[in-house]
Point group: C2
């Protein structure tokens, strides 16, 4: 065990869970906020800004990139990271949809 039973859930449920997992860490939230704020960031900026080791930041960036939420472009020695607009909008709207499923408390327990 210790392994999520993906096969019993829908594609959508699994995809949403994966994206949310990518967001579900304060460092990654902070990284995204920094990237948005600065329009683009390189790894070193984030290392200075947050108080985490370079290896740790790099690993978080990789997770965000794997999820598709950010993209990285090589720019000389450094790599410029910014938001991936499509994935961002898609996730945003999927979450909107999910949260709007719930309408006001009817006659709950």
């Amino acid at each position: 065990m210790g392994l999520t039973k993906t096969e019993i859930f829908t594609e959508e449920q699994n995809r949403l869970a994966i994206m949310l997992k990518a967001l579900a860490h304060p460092a990654r939230i902070a990284i995204l906020q920094q990237i948005i704020n600065a329009n683009a960031c390189i790894c070193g900026d984030l290392v200075d800004e947050l108080g985490l080791a370079q290896a740790t930041i790099s690993q978080h960036l990789k997770e965000l990139k794997t999820a598709g939420l950010i993209q990285g472009t090589i720019e000389g020695v450094s790599v410029c990271y910014c938001i991936e607009p499509r994935a961002w909008k898609l996730l945003s709207s999927q979450l909107d949809e999910f949260f709007s499923l719930y309408k006001e408390p009817a006659n709950c327990c």
Copy 2:
């Protein structure tokens, strides 16, 4: 290590990450969808509906309850679970705010 460095992030970043973590599992997404769909659910219904053991569903319900996303009311032998409206709305608007930080691709990399 293996421990998140909460102290270097803001209260908001940590709270949002905790709530997202509670959502970031297909079983918990499915549970919430079921609860919303049926207006309220008891643990047994969810065990039948999803294909997970009773102990597993109970544990997921506990996590959702700890996060404050659902509430449970004892109803005879069973416990009736439903959405906690305040937490739901709060998270929804916090996510709205977070996602709206990003405005269109300016002159990115």
